[in-house]
C-alpha cells in the first residue's frame, strides 16, 4: 500500500511537470496578449508529432527532435500572433474564436499528415530507476521532469533578470502604460507567443513516446490546462505551477484508486468550485480588467 501511494506520488510529479509547462505557456500568452489560446492543446500535439516525424520516421536523435519541436511550435506561435492575434488585438473574444479556427486547421493537418489513428513512438530509453523495491521511475519520465524544472527556472530568470523579461511583465500588468513607456507591444507579443507556444511544444515533444499521439490529443490537454490556470489564478505564473502540482496529485490519485473519468469529473468540479468561490484563483492576487 505504501508502495502504491509512493508510486502514485512519483507519477503525480511527472504529470505536474509537463502540465505546468503547458499551463505556464497559456498564462504567459493570456497575460501579455489578453487572449485565451484555445489552440494550446493542438500546439502540444504539434510538438508530439514533430518528434514522431523526426525521431520515429526520419531517425534523428531524440533530443534534436525535441529541440526541433520546441522551435517549430514556437514558430507556429509566431504565425498565430502575426496572422490572428495582432489584427484582432482590440477584440479578445475575436482572438479566442480565431484560435479555435486555428485549432481545427492544426488538427486536420495532423490527420492528413499522419492519419487518424494513434501512433506509437519507441522511447529512446526503456531504463527504469528503482527508487524502492516497488517504486519505479522510468528514465524517460525523469527527462520530462528535469526538462520542466530547467525550462521553468530559465523562464523565471529570464522574466526577472533581463530587460525583455521586465518589459514582458510590464506588458502583462498594464499594456497601455507599457506602450507609453516606449515598449514595443508587437515585439513583446511576439516574444510571449513564441515562448508560450514553445513551452507547449516542448511538453508535447518530450512526452510523445509516453502518450502515443493522436490528432485529437489536444482536447484533454486544453481541458487540463484550463483547470490549472483557473485554479491557479488566471494571470499568475507561480499560481499555474502550484495549481499544476495540486491538480496532478488529485488527478493521479483519483485515477489510481478509482478511475480516469471520475478523476476528470473531480478536476472539473474543483475548477467550478474555484470559479464560484474565488474567481481570482487560489494563488492569483488581482483580477484583470
Amino acid at each position: 500500500m505504501t508502495d502504491l501511494v509512493l508510486q502514485t506520488m512519483v507519477n503525480a510529479v511527472y504529470a505536474a511537470s509537463y502540465m505546468s509547462l503547458i499551463a505556464v505557456g497559456l498564462v504567459l500568452i493570456f497575460g501579455v496578449m489578453g487572449v485565451i489560446n484555445f489552440a494550446h492543446g493542438e500546439l502540444y500535439m504539434a510538438g508530439a508529432y514533430t518528434v514522431y516525424a523526426l525521431y520515429s520516421q526520419a531517425g534523428t536523435p531524440f533530443f534534436i527532435a525535441v529541440a526541433a519541436g520546441l522551435l517549430f511550435v514556437g514558430l507556429l506561435g509566431l504565425v498565430m500572433e502575426y496572422g490572428l492575434f495582432r489584427p484582432l488585438r482590440d477584440n479578445p473574444l475575436g482572438g479566442l474564436i480565431a484560435s479555435i479556427g486555428f485549432l481545427l486547421i492544426l488538427q486536420t493537418a495532423a490527420v492528413l499528415g499522419f492519419g487518424v489513428r494513434m501512433v506509437h513512438i519507441r522511447p529512446p530509453t526503456q531504463d527504469l530507476i528503482h527508487l524502492t523495491d516497488g517504486v519505479v521511475l522510468p528514465v524517460q519520465r525523469l527527462y520530462v521532469i528535469i526538462a520542466a524544472i530547467a525550462l521553468l527556472a530559465a523562464l523565471h530568470q529570464f522574466l526577472r533578470r533581463t530587460r525583455f523579461g521586465w518589459a514582458l511583465r510590464a506588458c502583462a500588468q498594464d499594456r497601455e502604460a507599457a506602450a507609453l513607456q516606449g515598449m514595443s507591444l508587437d515585439r513583446i507579443s511576439r516574444l510571449a507567443m513564441f515562448i508560450g507556444a514553445a513551452l507547449a511544444g516542448v511538453a508535447g515533444a518530450l512526452t510523445a513516446p509516453l502518450v502515443a499521439p493522436t490528432p485529437y490529443m489536444g482536447h484533454s490537454v486544453i481541458v487540463t490546462a484550463f483547470i490549472i490556470i483557473i485554479v491557479g489564478g488566471i494571470g499568475s505564473l507561480e499560481g499555474a505551477v502550484l495549481a499544476a502540482v495540486l491538480y496532478a496529485i488529485v488527478h493521479t490519485f483519483v485515477t489510481t484508486f478509482y478511475d480516469g473519468v471520475l478523476a476528470d469529473i473531480v478536476g472539473l468540479l474543483l475548477m467550478l468550485l474555484v470559479l464560484v468561490v474565488k474567481p481570482t484563483g487560489l494563488f492569483g492576487a488581482r483580477e484583470r480588467a
Partner: protein
Amino acid sequence: MAPRAGLWFLAAALLATLIVLPHVLSYSQKEVLVFLVINVLLVASYRLMTLTGEWSLIHVVLMGVGAYTSALLSKKGVGLPVPASMLLGALTAGVVAAILSFPLFRMKGFYFLIGSFAAGEVIRLIWKRFTDPFGGPKGLKLIPQFPDLDLGFLEVSFYAPVPYYYLCLVVVSVSLVILYRIEHCRIGLTFHAVHWQDRLAESVGIDTFRYRMLAFVIASFFAGLAGALYGHYVGTVNPTRFDVDEMIYVLIWAIVGGTATFYGPILGVVALTLINEIALRALGIDQMRPMIYGAILIASILFLPQGLESLVPKLRRRLRSWRHAHGAARLPAG
C-alpha cells in the same frame, strides 16, 4: 406598400421552397435536410442566449440533456409516448440550465465561457461514467421512433426522412416564432439592456441575474427540444455526439452568420451546410472539413466580423440603386 408586398412574396417563396425541397433531393440529402432544420433551432436558440452578452460552451450539452432525457423516458421501463417525452426532455434541459445559473452567473465574459464549458464537460462525463442508466461511452440505442400518425384517410410514418422533415419544420417554425416574439417583447428588450447597459439596467430596478437566467433557461429549453428531435430520428445518442467539437460548429455557424439579427445565425448554418454538402462532399474531401471550417471561421472573424448578415443591407441597397438607375433610364425612353 411595395416593400411589404416584397416581404410577403419572399415568405411565400421560402415556404414553397421548403415544402417542395425534400422531393427533389437524394435520400442522404433528405437526411441532411432534417439535421439542418434541427440545427437551425439549435443555433437560433443559442442566439437568444448571446443577447444578454454571454457566450456559453454548454449549449450542445444541453441539447444532449434533451436527447438523453427524452430517450430514457420513452424507452421500455418508463415508456412515455414520444411527443410527451420530447417535451419533458426540453423541460429538463431548461431545469438543468436554471440550476446551473446559480453557480455560472456569478461569472461573466471569459470566466462564464470556461465555467459553462466545465459544467458541460461534467454532465458529459457523467453520461460516460454511469453506464446505468446512460449507457456509458456507447450511449443509448434503440430509442423509440416518433409514433405513426393515423388520421383514418391518411397514414404517416415518421420513420422516413421526408415526413420527419415536415414534423421538424412545423416544430422548429413554431419555436422560431416563439423565440422571435420573446426577443421583440419587453423581455427581449431587457435582454439587450442587460447586455449593453447592465449597470444602468440594475439602477432602474432590473434584476440582471434573473434576466440572464431567463435567457439561459429559454435557450436551453429549445436546445433540449432540438436534441429530442435529433435523438428520436437517429435512434441513438452518445456522449461524443455532444462534445466540444460539436459546440465549436454551433459557434462557427453563429459567428459566420452574425448574431446582431434574428436571421444571422440561421443564414450561417444554412450557408455552411450548403458549402459542406455541395462543395466538400461532392469533391470528396470530407476529411478536410474541419480545416475548411477553421479557415472560414478565421476569414470571417478577420474580414467579415459582423457576419453574413451584414451583407444583407448592402445587397438590398445595391438592389435599390440598381432599380433606381433602371427606372431613371426608362423614363426618358417612355
